[in-house]
Symmetry: C2
Subunit: 327 residues, 2 copies
């Protein structure tokens, strides 16, 4: 995000009337700095890339506590990017709440607060004429939330079906090419896709949290991850993945949700799809969702080859939405 | 559109604060009526479905000339849905210009005026604080234009590639299943997909006009259909379509455009795609476009099984954008 903001500085000023400075950076491993006059981002990036702390002997001390840091920052916008906490959404929920209470727009790439505090944070933001935005929380920077909020007025989402977890989709692709389950994990980790503990991906929990976020926001139906019926990919041997491909089928970790009367039911589970299914060609780290609504029978969004850059773009897009200075 | 407006009447009022009445209907074969108090749409639909004229002995005479009719209507919004004119965009351009001059928002499902008068009509609309909108002109009701206008701020479109013509894609699907070229045309006509003269579809002209519309609007680069290098599907025998499928490949009428320095180059031509291509699974009347931008490497929008209902939804969505009363 720091690099993207820097690269787009002139374009944001000329085409969007947006000038910015970064007044605070709070990290887990590289210290914290606050400078109301604007932090030198190029210098900060060099320090981070060099494994150094952002703090220098001359810089003022910044609070180590997240909420205290946010209160001390006096910015207009908070970008909250802590790792996801499936159970409680913390500490992201506290960070975002604090930002809104301090008159800052609250933007996050973290899906935890979406499933654990969407209604509270959205209402708090609305009361204070601020925005709580989280485009990067699902499908990286692909505009899955703003597609519904901005481009499909008066459409009612009936169901959706997709592939929302990059690690498991990459693993299935690698197993098709000959990797064992363990080799696929190791390769996904080496590529920086899977975390040190990929358990949340493999068990389908990461997908379930994303499904709950989409149901909560796009269907207007508060939904928790434990309400998503869930099965991971542990039970699919690599030989079965290759054998299915020989039969013209691919195993995919499918996410699905549908309205059923006044309820919503949802699941995450491995399924075999054939070539007639748009999800068949979603390979590697790509992701996709097909939406079925009362006005459009089928609308599919596919994001190919996402990465940290696309997540950063989602945050930037949220910034432009929040400040509403778009050209 | 009349049916959709009627079905959604209560939802539009309660969720979007929008109440509406139709003050005029102008048709090619069923006459024209004007009633400032509001036309009975249910009655009008019954007359149309019964092959009758909309006019009755008691109704006031409405001008037969398009622009004169629009001036006489005194509406807030014009929905312009004449058939496309590839060469000049007329009479749609005159209709839309007249509407804007009469302080009406100008909404169309016709791609002709987009390629022939986008800059003029957009500027005229902006000067008068009105909107010129055309979501249904490409990919029916799928939000291809508003995806870019509303959800991808500060993104620069570098290139796109897709399938934009339903008739030829359906024909290729039918030929894969055993139809001859002529049988495929006849079947597409019987299904109401192909027009009596499907020449514009088969020659790639319909696709070229859509490519020109996307380049003009999404790349901000005024482009005319004749600038699109064009080859239709006439030259692909049905046997070759089936033989390619046996080799794991599908013939598709591919639309593509890319920036090249300060220029844009574009083509429409049949190509064979394999299963790794997201366009491989786009079958029948479905359509799809993959966008490559400076911030998202690959974002694909697929519309499955479109029809008149989805075109109507695009018009309704444009109405809600124009009056900006969204909930």
């Amino acid at each position: 995000l720091a690099r993207l903001l820097t690269e787009k500085r002139e374009e944001l000023a000329s085409s969007h009337g947006l000038q910015w400075r970064v007044t605070g950076i709070h990290t887990r491993r590289h210290g914290s700095i606050i400078d109301p006059e604007g932090i030198d981002l190029a210098l900060a990036l060099r320090r981070m890339d060099g494994g150094q702390s952002l703090e220098s002997p001359s810089s003022a001390a910044a609070p180590a506590d997240g909420p205290a840091f946010i209160r001390a920052c006096k910015g207009d916008v908070l970008f909250e990017n802590t790792p996801v906490n499936y159970e409680s959404g913390q500490p992201a929920v506290d960070h975002l709440r604090t930002a809104l209470q301090c008159d800052m727009h609250a933007i996050t790439a973290n899906k935890g607060p979406v499933v654990h505090a969407y209604v509270e944070l959205s209402q708090l933001a609305a009361r204070r004429n601020l925005r709580f935005l989280f485009e990067s929380a699902v499908m990286d920077g692909a505009p899955i939330f703003s597609l519904w909020r901005e481009t499909l007025p008066a459409a009612v989402l009936q169901s959706f079906r997709g592939i929302l977890n990059s690690t498991t989709n990459l693993m299935l692709t690698l197993m098709e090419s000959g990797d064992s389950f363990e080799q696929a994990i190791a390769r996904a980790q080496a590529l920086g896709i899977a975390e040190t503990d990929p358990g949340g991906d493999i068990s389908g929990m990461d997908s379930a949290v994303k499904v709950a976020a989409l149901v909560t926001v796009l269907m207007g139906f508060p939904f928790k991850p434990h309400q998503v019926e869930r099965m991971g990919i542990e039970s699919i041997p690599a030989e079965e993945v290759r054998s299915a491909l020989g039969r013209g089928r691919r195993w995919k970790l499918i996410c699905q949700a549908q309205r059923a009367g006044s309820e919503v039911t949802a699941f995450v589970r491995p399924e075999q799809v054939d070539v007639s299914d748009p999800l068949y060609s979603v390979m590697g780290t790509s992701s996709a969702v097909t939406f079925h609504s009362d006005v459009l029978e089928s609308l599919t969004l596919v994001e190919g080859n996402p990465g940290p850059d696309t997540t950063a773009y989602g945050l930037l897009a949220d910034l432009l939405r929040a400040v509403a200075l778009r050209g």
